[in-house]
Every structure is written in C-alpha cells, then in structure tokens.
Symmetry: C2
Amino acid sequence: MTLVPSRRQPANATRCERCTLHARCLPLGLELDALESFEAIVQNPRPLKRGEALVRQGGTFESLFVVRSGSLKQSVAQEGQRDQVTHFYLPGEVVGLDGIGETICYGSVVAMESTFVCELPFGRLEDLAEQLPKLRGQLYRCMSRELRNDQRMMCLLSGRTADQRLASFMLGLSERFRVRGFSPYRFHLSMSRSDIGSYLGLALETVSRVLARFQQQGMVTVAGRELTIHEMEALVALAEEGVGRHSGG
Amino acid sequence: MTLVPSRRQPANATRCERCTLHARCLPLGLELDALESFEAIVQNPRPLKRGEALVRQGGTFESLFVVRSGSLKQSVAQEGQRDQVTHFYLPGEVVGLDGIGETICYGSVVAMESTFVCELPFGRLEDLAEQLPKLRGQLYRCMSRELRNDQRMMCLLSGRTADQRLASFMLGLSERFRVRGFSPYRFHLSMSRSDIGSYLGLALETVSRVLARFQQQGMVTVAGRELTIHEMEALVALAEEGVGRHSGG
DNA sequence: CGTTCCGGTTGATTCATGTCAAGGAAGCGA
DNA sequence: TCGCTTCCTTGACATGAATCAACCGGAACG
C-alpha cells in the first residue's frame, strides 16, 4: 500500500479513548499502549452520504469498518432477483466480518443517512491481533455474537408471523438504541418500509399495514420514520408469543 | 470401534494426518510440529448414539467439536414454542462456533445417527492459536464462512418459495457430500421431514408434498430418506429462479 | 409553479402454504 | 408375531400474506 494517508499528523489521529462509542467498540478492554497501537491502524473517519456505498458486492475485501455515526444497510443482490437486505448497522457495530478469509465481498453496504465509519485494514488488524490477546478475543466475540444474531434472525424468519417479526424488529432496534444511550422508546427509523420488508421477509405493504394496526391498537405511534413505543410489554408479549407458524402438533 | 479412550497411549492418540477428513478439517495447512501440538489437545473421538445430545441448550460452553462421522442437528428451543432447527452438521464441520465468548450454549446439538466427534477444549485451542497463525486464520475463516452461510440461509428463508427452499436445501447437501468425496447425486437424508421443515421454515407436510411433486416431475427420486437427484440442472434453475416472493415492482 | 418521482398508505383479490385429519409404512421392543 | 410408536403421505380446508392497483404527500427539479 503506497497510499499516503496523513500519518504525519498524530494530532489529527483517531483517539478511541475520546470516542463516545469507546465502551461498545472493538478495542474495548485494551490497555493504554495496546490502544495506541490500535489507534495507529485506524484510518480517520470517512464520511459517507446517504445512498453512498461503503462496500460493493464483488469488490475486494480489505478492511473491516466500525460505524462511528449514522447507519448502513448490507444487501445482497441475487441472480435476477430483487436485492435482499441482510443487516442494518448502527454506531459501534462492525461491518465486514463475513468477508474475513475471502477475497471478495459477499454483499454491498450502503449508508442510509450521513454516516461516518472508521476503517480497519484487515491485514494490519490481524497482525496487531497476533500481539494482543484481548483484541483477538474481541474479534472472536464479535463474530460469534453475529453468528448468534443471525441464528435468531433465522428463527424469526422461519417461524413467526408478520406481527411477530415487526414486534421483534422494533424491540431489537429499541434495545440497540438503549445500550447506546439513546431512548429505547422513541427513535428514528433510518430505513425505508421496503428495506424493513426485505430484511424481515415481508412485502412492504405488509410492513405498512402491520405498523398501522399496531398504532391503531395503541402500542406504538409511527409518524413517517419516527417511531414511539407506548407499550413495550405488549410488543414483548407479541414477540415471544408461543404460537407462530407451524406450531401445530 | 470398541475404543477405550486411553489417553495414556500416544499410539492411540488422535492422528489428524491419518484422518480422511484431514483435507477439510480445522487443522488444515498446519505444519508437522504444529499439527502435533494440535493433536495433543484433541480429545479422542467420542461416540454418540442417535438422539443423544452433544450440547445442551443453556449448558456451559467449553469446547468446539468437529464431526468425524455421522451427523448432528442444532436446535433452539424458544419460549413455549416448538424447537427450531438451525443447523445440520456433516463430517468435517465445526460445532459450537456461536458459543465463543459466551459462557452458555445458545442451542442444543443432537446426533441424528451414530456419530463420532473430536472435542477441542476451547481454552486450549485459543492458547494454541496464539502460537499458530495458521490455526488462527482457520478459525477466522470457519467463523466467517458460517456467517456467510447464515446469510444465505436468511435470504432463502425470507425471499423464496417452498419449492426453491427445498431445491436449495438438496443442492446444498449435494455439494457438501460432493466435496467430501461422496456422490452428489445420491445420498441419505439423516434428518426427518419435520427437521427439514423446521430448518427451512415450512410445515412438514409441505416438505413431503414438494418432494413428492419433484419426484413426480422426474427431478429426483425420494425413497424414504434415500435421495437420488436426476436433474441437477432443473434443481439449480429452480433455486436460482429470479422470481421468488415479494419480487414485485 | 407545475411536473415528476419516491416513499408510503390502503383496498380488493389471489394464492401459497399452514392447519386439521386420517391412514399407511416402517422400525422396535416384548 | 403383535402391538406400539414414530415418521411419512395425502386430502380438504382455512388463512395470512403477497400481489395488483390506485392514490396521497412531500421533495427534487426544471
């Protein structure tokens, strides 16, 4: 790599310690000097405009990214089939874990709003992980957490009704906002109804209808993309409801 | 195999080199002495009877396992909801990656037939990985491969018809058998229709019906759990067919 | 300031697939 | 061999969600 990213100005360099996401980010738990080594490989936050691609399907895999602010979606384009959204990424989440060990990227990742990401060139990250057991552990943990998330998603997709999917989806977002210090009751959906539908395996019309019904029932208020949850309990009950589909027997 | 897990006799110890799965297993690519260190942490193959649990949901996570022969299924029991099958494991595949970094196991893993597994205590594996970059790489690769598989699965579950799901499922198995040196055209399904249905998000009756129809159409022959694929092309065409569900627009 | 486009809502209709039910075949222990 | 059980198949029917279609409101744009 002969590129000249301004490594001359340490003053400008990424300081993870000062980042508000520090407590939820990859370098969590690193000692001070380890953290400095880590910061050294982080490319300065890169801005993305709404709709701009961070990763293109089929492009070469080179880096992991951590969302610093904003949000992104990963989607996979299949043979003459509409794109399918596979993940939404919020601040502090790691993009690209599914590309490790591959040369090309499995899906595209696109910003859903103005977004900043920190880039971690994977080769350098790997080298560093060799020396830092804690970083290695963090990487494993991130990946296995994502494996568990995907499994939950598979359960959601294969066994639950539209209502349950939407309820789980909103609860999942709510929780992710909560642990990031935002309100779990009121937040902005940066994705379109169509994205939600694609992600949850529903037609966008169904998403719209179910949200409307939830609102009618007083569980939530949906004003465009502003979501307010009034009855968290009701949503939880719905999401955990024993009887989804093919529950017979 | 009347083996008495005699750990005193190195003569009896696990020898990955001699294992027929060597080319597809975790220690792939390790040099001779590295391989020996690896073998030292492998517990002798453990036998499981059909229906026996290797891992219990909620049990403590301690080890990864590699299937040596036979097959297993992972399933997740949710709140008053029927179990959901999340994975099938064939020889050479690694069980337990989703438990890394957790203390308890997310799902249960049960043998679908007489099965042998090699146990890899994770703590020791991690220590070893610290010294062996190649092993580390293999671990990353396994995990990210599984992430990609799960994503494919999510796409399958959220966007495809019953026919497409079954076609993909059979093709997937076929490929997995092929790379293991078995016939991709004719193999045994060690899982029940109900397991397949659970895995694919379909009612077991639907599985049965679709298989019957595929047979009627001459694409496959299904005799109980013996599957013969006659028209691989047709299955591929079906699986890749552009128009699944909510493809409108 | 109209036009166009995009995202969202809502209604009518269709269809794939779930559910319920009955019965058959195969494996297994007594 | 008999009964029991588990797995599978097949049919009839019900229904949740997709599809098709029309319309609305706001944003972008000439």
